[in-house]
């Protein structure tokens, strides 16, 4: 997602010759002057980039193992669904951290960075990519010192107890990492990955949507609006279609 704006601008500058001219001939500007008609060009839209599994783009293998173990406790495998790891939540987070979200490129990042009231929101200097790098290292070093084990080597009940303490801010992580703040970031991103469209790498085969009964990227419910209190009969669909449309022989 980091390159969405430049891609869009370049693509549209290239494709859109209708009623378009830059303000001065010598300027490399993206600004446009439009007059006389609605500017429109075929195929000029900007669909999302599909996340493909395989390899880590941000995490080191050690970090990835830790994140996979954490997302599998935040969303454990049980009768209702597969776990966060199998659903792709760690892959989702990995790809998000290489883009605009990870680098905070859309946010206000100028200093000074001052102590804040809770009502003033996050005022730290670190972006999410940096927070993951230092936060994951802090968890690893804390547990190795305390238990002599990595998070992934703990029993599920021990993992849950540790995450519960982090959530409550009761873990003193090294390097000034605030455990409740970092847990909040992990929780937010894990849920995003689990419930977002599968095109972003999580929510494998729309597992969370099937679980809830959310029909996904459908766009017309006119025939069901008045059918009060009756279950919606159609299965979910994603922006990238349905798994059986994509798998050979299905």
């Amino acid at each position: 997602m980091s390159h969405r704006y430049p891609v869009r601008m370049n693509r549209r500058l290239f494709l859109s010759s209708v009623a378009m001219l830059t303000v001065t001939a010598t300027s490399p500007s993206f600004a446009r002057s439009l007059s006389g008609s609605l500017p429109w060009a075929p195929m000029a839209s900007d669909p999302p980039m599909q996340v493909l599994p395989g390899g880590w783009q941000f995490f080191t293998p050690q970090e990835a193992a830790l994140v996979e173990a954490i997302v599998d406790r935040i969303i454990p495998a049980d009768d209702l669904s597969i776990g966060g790891k199998e659903a792709g939540c760690a892959v989702y987070i990995d790809r998000q951290l290489t883009g605009a979200f990870g680098t905070s490129s859309r946010l206000y990042t100028q200093g000074p960075f001052l102590p804040a009231l809770p009502t003033q929101g996050y005022q730290g200097e670190a972006n999410p990519a940096q927070r993951y790098r230092t936060g994951l290292a802090a968890i690893d070093s804390f547990l190795k010192q305390r238990d002599g084990k990595s998070f992934a080597e703990l029993q599920p009940t021990e993992q849950d107890a540790f995450l519960t303490a982090m959530e409550a801010g009761k873990v003193e992580l090294p390097n000034g990492v605030k455990s409740s703040g970092f847990f909040g970031l992990l929780l937010q991103n894990t849920m995003e990955g689990f419930f977002a469209d599968p095109v972003y790498g999580g929510n494998k085969d729309m597992v969370s949507w099937r679980m809830l009964g959310f029909p996904g990227a459908r766009y017309d419910y006119r025939d069901h609006v008045s059918k009060h209190n009756q279950p919606y009969p159609q299965p979910p669909v994603s922006i990238e279609g349905r798994p059986e449309w994509l798998r050979k022989g299905a």
Partner: protein
């Protein structure tokens, strides 16, 4: 190096709802009009593409269509004793960006304010005495409900609002809002088909003597051709409305109601991806010469114009005035200065009712599809024995079932793990939510000015917002929560949960993008920045159009009134101002 461009009759800053309305009206008048828009061009087929617009992560969570804080943000604090810090990400409110502005991704609740809202100080003083509002800085707008009616009508027909009149020329109409002011005719379209939750909410309200009616909606209940000849399609109840552009041409916006006609006019031009830095004033500061803007390459331009219309988001209108030296910035200590005065918001609270045996299909929804109860809004009820003024609309408008953001669970549910998952599945389809959207009344210390520390990407000061919920508004909201509990009990259900509004406005969780004031209208140049035609008192060839003009906010969404004020300003420019350009329409 600033490039000086050929002059235009009119330059408009921002091409959203108000910019498009003013551009359409003034090009019809034969003027040569240029709009300068900070964000990109946007149209339905390209940017709200039906193949992938149903993307909650991209549009609702990452907010692709919104203003990015890297481009402009503001600093916030609750009171003047605190140090304001920047909103590094927007949260409590989400300003728009690009052609169409916030009108692209609004929900579409379209209200008329009442005469008692416009003549608020006069009305409240007469009914309850001046001491009742001694802590508040509420002001009359300087217009009456009857004066505003034709402009509301104009906007509602432009936008194809779906609704049911409650009062046509003084005759009450069955099924409409009995508390509304008289209107000249019914809405252009009938109400939308009701989903299950608002239907139950309305039944519960009626069972305890209240008067529910269909929320007036800018989502089309049927195909519609507006007075400009532009066709819109029937809403498909997709549940991707607020924060999204509509792929079906079913939600009113500049794109779906004005631009197809406006863009064909030879005397209209829009320059996108170009940010106005300030309005340039002539020596002496009594008239504007034009605007200076910068494009995305960093090139700076001076665009001369005879008439300058600030049509950006209300907050940005106020900041542009401050950066341009139009009027004097408000000082809460002396009460002097008018720009930044009477910043107001919205005082909301919510209720969830949990059922075991109901399936609300929450994903079948539209932004403004629901039912409203106005029995406790504004001055519809007697405040004689109460300890506050103002009120709230009570709305059951379930807008979506998008699962990253909409996962109601019983109070006390853990936020993760197997117990969380079980509760999430149980709550998803069987929870009914409704909320009070409350008035926000001005006080001396809720205001906007320029931040002393933080700068934008061009080195200009950010705007500083100082705001907390006034005690009066907290008392009002608590009273409304008590009334909502009565509705919750009438609904049945196994359990309900009330989220009350507390002091200490929190800039992080989303609440409402209904920021009002900062360049308020009125009849006294000492207490308002613009006259009742939205013309600057200080620089008469500048008009400032938007919710920035509201002296305080009612318990209603602002866009209907913003649209009506835009049409009223256009009427005044066409029929009065142009006869004697540069002169004030009202003598100070």
């Amino acid at each position: 190096m600033t490039t000086i461009l050929p002059r235009k009759d009119v330059v408009i800053v921002g091409l959203g709802w108000t910019g498009a309305i003013l551009a359409h009206e003034l090009t019809d008048q034969g003027l040569d009009v240029l709009a300068i828009e900070r964000g990109p061009w946007r149209d339905t087929a390209t940017d709200f593409n039906i193949g992938y617009v149903q993307d909650e992560l991209r549009y609702a969570v990452r907010r692709d269509l919104f203003l990015q804080p890297a481009v402009e943000t503001m600093t916030v604090r609750n009171n003047p004793s605190q140090t304001a810090l920047p909103m590094r990400d927007f949260g409590s409110f989400l300003p728009g960006n690009g052609v169409g502005g916030a009108g692209v991704h609004w929900n579409g609740h379209t209200w008329r304010f009442w005469d008692s809202d416009f003549q608020i100080r006069t009305n409240l003083t007469k009914k309850y005495g001046a001491s009742r509002i001694a802590d508040l800085q509420v002001q009359d707008w300087g217009v009456t409900g009857a004066e505003m009616e034709p402009y509301y009508d104009q906007y509602e027909y432009l936008a194809g609002i779906s609704g049911k009149a409650g009062n046509i020329k003084g005759q009450l109409q069955e099924g409409g809002n009995p508390f509304e002011d008289p209107r000249s005719r019914d809405y252009p379209n009938p109400p939308m088909q009701m989903t299950y939750a608002p239907t139950l909410f309305a039944e519960a309200g009626r069972s305890i003597g209240l008067h529910p009616f269909p929320t007036p909606s800018a989502n089309m209940s049927r195909n519609y051709v507006n007075p400009l000849g532009i066709a819109m399609g029937q809403c498909t109840y997709c549940g991707f409305c607020e924060r999204f552009g509509c792929a079906n041409y079913s939600k009113s916006s500049a794109q779906t109601t004005i631009l197809p006609v406006l863009m064909k006019k030879a005397n209209f031009e829009v320059r996108t991806d170009s940010e106005v830095l300030h309005v340039d004033l002539a020596p002496g500061g009594k008239s504007a010469r034009g605007v200076t803007y910068v494009d995305t390459s960093g090139e700076e331009y001076f665009q001369p114009a005879d008439l300058v219309l600030l049509c950006a988001y209300g907050l940005h209108n106020a900041r542009l005035m401050m950066l341009s030296g139009i009027g004097k910035i408000y000082d809460p200590v002396t009460g002097k200065g008018t720009v930044g005065r009477n910043y107001c918001y919205q005082t909301n609270a919510g209720v969830q009712v949990f059922f075991d045996d109901k399936n609300f299909n929450p994903f079948i929804a539209a932004g403004a599809l629901g039912q409203t109860i106005d029995d406790y809004n504004g001055d519809a009820f007697d405040h004689g024995a109460l300890d506050f003024v103002g009120g709230s609309g009570i709305n059951c408008i379930p807008t979506n079932g998008r699962p990253i953001g909409t996962r109601p669970t019983l109070p006390g549910t853990p936020k993760w793990g197997s117990a969380w998952k079980k509760a999430t599945v149980e709550g998803y389809k069987s929870t009914l939510g409704f909320s009070s959207q409350g008035s926000s009344y001005a006080t001396r210390t809720n205001y906007l000015d320029l931040d002393p520390t933080y700068k934008d990407r061009f080195g200009r000061p950010l705007m500083r917002m100082t705001f907390d919920f006034p005690d009066n508004d907290i008392r009002m909201s608590n009273y409304l929560c008590d009334r909502m509990e009565e509705i919750a009990k009438a609904l049945g259900g196994k359990q309900y949960n009330v989220s009350r509004r507390k002091k200490g406005w929190d800039s992080v969780p989303y609440q409402s993008t209904h920021n009002t004031g900062g360049a308020i209208m009125g009849t006294d140049p000492g207490k308002s920045a613009v006259n009742t035609f939205l013309q600057s008192w200080d620089v008469p060839n500048v008009f400032v159009i938007g919710a920035s003009a509201f002296p305080q906010n009612a318990g209603k969404n602002p866009t209907g009134t913003v649209g009506a004020l835009a049409f009223r300003a256009a009427d005044a420019i066409r029929n009065q101002y142009l006869r004697n350009p540069g002169a004030p329409l009202v003598q100070a």
